[in-house]
């Protein structure tokens, strides 16, 4: 017994070192697993508060840019509006309960953005208080940004599309061939689209959109254009470089999409299995 105590006293530093090292490695491994990194997160009141305080100052330097984006978006929306109202209005009766929009949008401001690491996260200034929850999609007027991973009361952490753990189901705009969008960790403006079958008509400059399969994003959210493509080693699938519409290094304001039918659809899918 005495020897054990002596041993513990003699090696207490090494033991403390090993304990803390195991703890930090545990956190590290968790952070490399999607949907597991719950504990170490900047979405708490202290770190979130500091980031939003800093962002308040930083925001002023980008106001002009954000304004231009808003004007562009308004222009596009106005042209859509006149386009739709000039068409003949459908006079068939629709029950208002079935007419409800399944998607609910919330606006939020990005208060921390990362893009130089391989696993990047974004912090926004809305949280569970504003109805945000895990697996809500995040977009800007130009294209997709990521998926809400974790929420606190006032803040939410988004797993950015610039994260090697994330893959989003997307498709070609021209045809319905789909694949999954991932990121290889190199260029923050170029993502990789994989598993597009060889039969798909892939042309440089074609637009990639989301395909609504994942229940997170509605169909038709723009993603990017095809920059480059090549067949994989088996000659059966394309690997496509996608130039993103979003400038991921400067995001500013985002929309968070809540799919009201998500739970219902998920239940139906799980019955199938």
């Amino acid at each position: 017994m005495r020897q054990i105590i002596n041993f513990l006293i003699k090696y207490k530093n090494t033991l403390l070192f090993l304990c803390l090292l195991c703890l930090s490695l545990f956190f590290t491994i968790q952070s490399h697993t999607y949907h597991k990194s719950k504990f170490i997160s900047s979405a708490n009141f202290l770190t979130g508060g500091i980031y939003s305080w800093v962002n308040n100052i930083d925001e002023y330097f980008n106001l002009r840019k954000y304004n231009n984006r808003l004007v562009d978006e308004n222009k596009w929306l106005r042209s859509r509006l006149t386009e739709l109202s000039s068409k003949k209005i459908d006079t068939t009766f629709t029950d208002s309960t079935s007419y409800e929009n399944p998607y609910h949008f919330t606006t939020a401001r990005v208060i921390k953005n990362q893009y130089i690491k391989r696993d990047n996260y974004i912090l926004i200034n809305k949280g569970s208080k504003d109805g945000l929850a895990t697996d809500h999609g995040v977009i800007t007027s130009r294209g997709i940004v990521g998926i809400v991973e974790e929420t606190s009361k006032n803040y939410a952490r988004i797993i950015s599309i610039l994260n090697t753990n994330l893959s989003v189901s997307v498709q070609l705009q021209k045809s319905d061939h789909f694949g999954s969008l991932t990121w290889n960790g190199n260029d923050p403006n170029v993502a990789q689209l994989e598993e597009v079958p060889r039969l798909a008509p892939v042309v440089k400059g074609d637009t990639i959109i989301t395909n609504g399969r994942s229940l997170i994003f509605p169909k038709g959210i723009p993603v990017g254009v095809i920059k480059d493509f090549k067949l994989d080693v088996n000659q059966s699938y394309y690997t496509i470089d996608v130039q993103l519409f979003n400038d991921m290094t400067n995001i500013g304001y985002v929309y968070v999409i809540q799919n009201n039918d998500q739970t219902e659809l998920k239940e139906l899918e799980s019955i199938d299995e």
Binding site: F27, S42, T47, I116, R118
Partner: protein, 168 residues
């Protein structure tokens, strides 16, 4: 002792804030960032007991991790250099460290440089290895380690030089 505690606490908070507010947004040439908060571990009092050194180093690393959403990457890296610190101190400063007679700012620049460089290189190598977590990217890890280390070492020398003047 109290003033020592106060100055170290202040250093702890100021270094974390500088790191997350300013330095993490530099992104020089796309990916090079200095990690100045390592300075906290380097400047912890030399006669502080080792388990306190380990604990405080872990704490500053974990705080940075909270801000960066990086799991336990920074905590692990700072913990390892805190553990290695006595060995490196002995290696760099030789006998005078063992007698605990040295004052950080009174050591020759070459000895100080070797102390800083070794710990920063080890820290950055572990940091980027764990962050990338894939040894098929070993070239990328080494590249980031080298460039970020140069940046960090220069910044540490600059900051310590500035504070040296004030304390005299």
């Amino acid at each position: 002792m109290n003033s020592l505690l106060l100055s170290n606490t202040a250093r702890f908070i100021i270094l974390i804030l500088i790191q997350v507010v300013v330095l993490n947004n530099i992104n020089f040439l796309g990916y090079i960032n200095p990690y100045l908060y390592v300075l906290f571990v380097l400047l912890l009092p030399l006669n502080l007991s080792q388990y306190k050194v380990l604990f405080f180093s872990f704490l500053i690393g974990l705080s940075i991790d909270f801000f960066e959403d990086s799991g336990g990457v920074n905590a692990a890296a700072t913990l390892v250099i805190a553990y290695l610190r006595p060995v490196i101190l002995k290696f760099s400063f030789g006998v005078s460290y063992e007698h605990q007679t040295i004052k950080y700012y009174q050591t020759p620049i070459t000895q100080r440089l070797s102390y800083i460089s070794i710990l920063v290189l080890v820290h950055h190598f572990i940091l980027f290895s764990l962050e990338i977590f894939n040894y098929s990217y070993i070239i990328l890890i080494l590249k980031r380690t080298l460039f970020s280390s140069i940046f960090t070492i220069l910044l540490i020398l600059l900051v310590t030089a500035l504070f040296q003047k004030k304390s005299k």
